[in-house]
Amino acid sequence: MRWRRVLVALMLVALAAAAGAGLARSAGDRGRPDPVRAVAAELRCPACQGESVADSRSPIAVAMRQVVADQLAQGRDRDEIRRWFVQRYGADVLTDPPDRGVRLLLWGVPALALLAGAYAAVRTLRPRAGRARPAAPRTPGARATRRAWRVASVGVVGLVASVAVVTYRLDPPARPAPADPVAVALQLAHDLETQDRYDAAAQMYQEALRERPDDAVRLRLAFALLRSGDSDGAQRTAREVLGREPNSPDGLLVLGLAQRTSQPVEAERSLRRFLAVAPAHPAAAEIRRLLSPDPAPNGR
């Protein structure tokens, strides 16, 4: 009998060792095949609810994945990219922000629950002796019973009344603004522009426009379209703005620049109007140079 027990123990020890080896092997990096996905999985999609950039199909997430891919291609590592995103969009862009401030509650509350539960369990397992009293049968007097009845009935009716009163008093609460997807889209588009990715930037502006039809955004879109080489699109967008506000300097500027390839005459008219409307515009000097009768040979 003895040797059998020893054998069983030995076998268990051997199995435990093998299991330990398996665990150790498994604990190493699982080597995700797709580094973009690995980084994107750590970023929260600002336009969705509870989805990571890796999983989401919203255009913002697509653009953010593109940014990640670009940066990886430039040789940045995971932490650098994470830091880059945190700098731009705040710590909330991470699916797992560092546990600081309020987030310490995430660990404090469960720890407290565990401790309180353990304390209660120990108390239950070892009740202190000698304090037990037989539960005294309660026989409340008739007056106390009547008082309880009155109080309780008032309470019950009061509950109904309070619901009614609160309903008529209460305006629907203003919904706390969620992370503003438009702002993120605009920021992202701007970033894309600084990286000369005007195509993607234009897409982002279009996305933002769908949420917030705003002429300022439309003008940014027109510029991005112009720079990405889509002069038709730029013209169309600029005309949309000019339809509402015929003297918009930026609208005239984009329109004129976009017309230059196809309709030089109209382009000149638009640009002259631009100069008339906004002589002090930062781009005015450049345009004057363009329109001067003897353009420099390398003029854009």
């Binding site: 299991a19 509870g50 202190r128 629907p172």
Partner: protein, 659 residues
């Protein structure tokens, strides 16, 4: 017309619920006969049923003068989803809530329990009921008229028109949530009822078991719905709505286990109260727009009122159950490694998991006023906290049944084989693949539990004493172990890829590949759809053609992905259509291979079945000689006062006095 009737039925229900609460209070305080109070409960149920029926009728008749129908009905919606659209938005689902609650109240009212305890418990249930009736009539009345009357409505949220589970999942979930009102009511009634209250735990147990089984089924169906409809390939996203259903499940599980062991009255009442309070809190979180979620309902003014009611309920239950006499000392010191100890340990761990889930769910709410920003809590947090705790729970679950045997060394010997199986599984799986430590330990723990259960099952069949009662627990535990394997396997070995395919091109994941055959566009009355026809090939063998789709619902301006799921015994192939090229010549497709997902559904069903089995058994079990009633007393008020005088107070299972 229907609208006016509906508003009237809600008003009648409110009046009747208020009256019923007062009538049961009279029974409790003045020993008044219970018959009228029972009638009041029945009338309240009838009012809820009439309100539901009227709203269904309005939906079916497309009566768009009723606000709820104007917002959630539609002529293009198929009959089945018209029926289920009753609970596809807040106001209507509140009616279903009332109906289920009223059903529980009526069932509870018909039972014959110790009179004072019964009456106080009915007061509690009636007050809960009247609160929700008040909400429904004042703040969320679905019957309010609309003018001008629209000619058609948008139909329910398209996501809720995709899957037949929509007809079963919400009612089942509500049956689970609201069943927990009964243990809660008993726990609050017990301290008020004096001697009558002593045996409440044994009376509440069948109710808790039935509710737990329904809740388990509801959570499982919800996960299935999420898997089959949302199209992201997963089944659990730690979304606030999902968390809200998990929270009461955790505490109810702890309640069911601590009630297996004698004594521990404080634990019983705390867990019973916590379970229903978490139901109320979950209702507040998900029905008030307080937290953003995939399937939370929209804004409404209910939030503050629900919060107020939750706080009131917390205060009342703390006052009522907090003050109690200390438990009497037991002879001898408890052994550290015994079944009662482990049951308690598991209770503590389940409460800790509940705390994790609770704080993770409400932190975004808390951080807004504290910090100015809404903190987000991602799945990573739960993976670091709840998952390890759950693995420990699984291990304890495997150890505890073996300790039934009094002899310590015999118990340890019974654990040797399961321990070997668990360690062997970890070694084998860990050396053959790299699933990550969490999944690996979960595999090991599940193997440990399942082997132990198999031994137990053999013991049950061949052992000297046949104890059919254990079968229920065995089935439920086996189900949970299977769920653990499914979760660990699908999260560790799932693979996916996404690409834009031209017609004829192939996307490959592992040995599964799909080739794009074509893209079809169809236009329907209420929706337009694009389907991709894909030829599936599994390990070289040609499979069927599958057609994932994108459905566009113009009425709500939303597009819904309809994944094509090929279910196999060991793994699912899950194909989603993400986008289609303008010329219909290309499609962006996501192909995922999800192993062992089937175990999740099987395990969930098994767990719920175990709960039902236990509920059926514990409801049938004679309640002991002391509190068995004369047959005439059941269901009638006549025998009531006599029975109170004649009968000795029931002996408690739960109270320290009987141990």
């Amino acid at each position: 017309m229907l609208g006016d009737l509906g508003t009237a039925s809600l008003a009648a229900g409110l009046a009747s619920a208020t009256l019923t609460a007062l009538l049961w209070l009279r029974v409790a305080l003045f020993d008044a006969p219970a018959r009228i109070a029972r009638l009041g409960t029945a009338a309240t149920l009838a009012a809820a049923a009439v309100a539901c029926a009227l709203l269904e009728a309005a939906l079916l008749r497309h009566d768009f003068s009723v606000r709820f129908v104007a917002e959630n009905g539609g002529r293009h919606v198929p009959l089945y989803y018209t029926l289920t659209s009753l609970w596809s938005a807040l106001d209507g689902s509140l009616l279903l809530w009332l109906l289920v609650l009223g059903g529980y109240a009526a069932l509870l009212a018909r039972r014959a329990y110790p009179a004072r305890l019964h009456a106080y418990a009915m007061v509690v249930v009636s007050v809960v009921m009247l609160f929700f009736f008040a909400l429904s009539s004042f703040a969320a009345n679905p019957f309010r008229p609309v003018s001008p009357v629209p000619t058609d409505g948008p139909g329910p949220n398209p996501l809720l028109q995709q899957h037949p589970a929509m007809g079963v999942h919400p009612p089942l979930l509500y049956a689970g949530y609201l069943g927990l009102v009964v243990p809660f009511a008993f726990a609050l009634a017990a301290p008020l009822a004096g001697r009558d209250g002593a045996g409440w735990v044994r009376l509440a147990r069948p109710w808790a078991l039935a509710a737990w089984a329904a809740l388990t089924g509801g959570i499982g169906l919800g996960a299935w719905w999420s898997y089959a409809v949302l199209g992201w390939g997963g089944y659990w996203a730690w979304d606030p709505v999902e968390n809200a259903s998990l929270l009461p499940w955790l505490t109810a599980t702890a309640f069911l286990h601590t009630t297996l062991v004698r004594g521990r009255v404080a634990w019983h009442s705390a867990l019973a109260c916590a379970s229903f309070l978490l139901v109320l809190l979950g209702t507040f979180l998900t029905r008030s727009g307080a937290v953003a979620s995939v399937h939370a309902f929209t804004d409404s003014p209910l939030g503050p009122m629900l919060l107020g009611f939750v706080l009131l309920a917390v205060a009342v239950s703390t006052v009522l159950t907090g003050r109690r006499d200390p438990e009497p000392a037991r002879a001898g010191r408890p052994r550290a490694l015994s079944r009662p100890t482990l049951v308690l340990v598991n209770g503590v761990l389940l409460v800790a998991i509940a705390a994790v889930v609770l704080i993770g769910t409400i932190l975004p709410l808390l951080s807004a006023p504290l910090n100015g920003t809404r903190a987000s809590v991602g799945p990573g947090y739960y993976q670091r906290t709840a998952v390890p705790l759950a693995v420990v729970v699984l291990l304890v679950m495997g150890v505890a049944p073996a300790l039934r045997v009094r002899d310590r060394s015999a118990a340890l010997r019974r654990l040797a084989v399961p321990a070997g199986a668990g360690l062997g599984t970890v070694a084998l799986v860990g050396l053959l693949s790299r699933p990550g430590p969490a999944a690996l330990t979960a595999f090991g723990a599940a193997a440990f539990v399942l082997t132990g259960l198999a031994g137990d099952a053999l013991h049950l069949r061949t052992g000297p004493r046949r104890r059919p009662g254990r079968l229920a627990g065995l089935v439920a535990h086996a189900g949970l172990a299977l769920v653990a394997v499914g979760v660990a396997g699908s999260s560790a070995y799932g693979r996916d890829d996404e690409r834009t395919l031209r017609v004829g091109e192939t996307l490959r994941v592992g040995d599964v590949s799909v080739r794009l055959v074509g893209v079809d566009r169809t236009g329907g009355s209420g929706s337009m759809a694009v389907r991709a026809r894909l030829a599936l090939t599994t390990s070289g063998r040609a499979g069927p053609t599958i057609t994932p789709a994108l459905r566009y619902h113009p009425a709500r301006d939303t597009a819904v992905t309809v994944p094509a799921i090929g279910t196999g015994p060991l793994r699912d192939t899950y194909v989603t259509l993400i986008a289609v090229g303008e010329d219909s010549g290309s499609a962006t497709v996501r192909l995922a291979v999800n192993p062992l997902v089937g175990l999740l559904w099987a395990g969930g069903a098994l767990t719920a079945a175990g709960g039902l089995l236990a509920a059926a058994r514990s409801a049938r079990r004679p309640r002991g000689r002391a509190d068995r009633l004369p047959p005439t007393a059941a269901g009638t008020g006549a025998g009531r006062s006599a029975s109170r005088a004649d009968r000795p107070a029931p002996k408690a299972v739960g109270s320290g006095a009987s141990t």
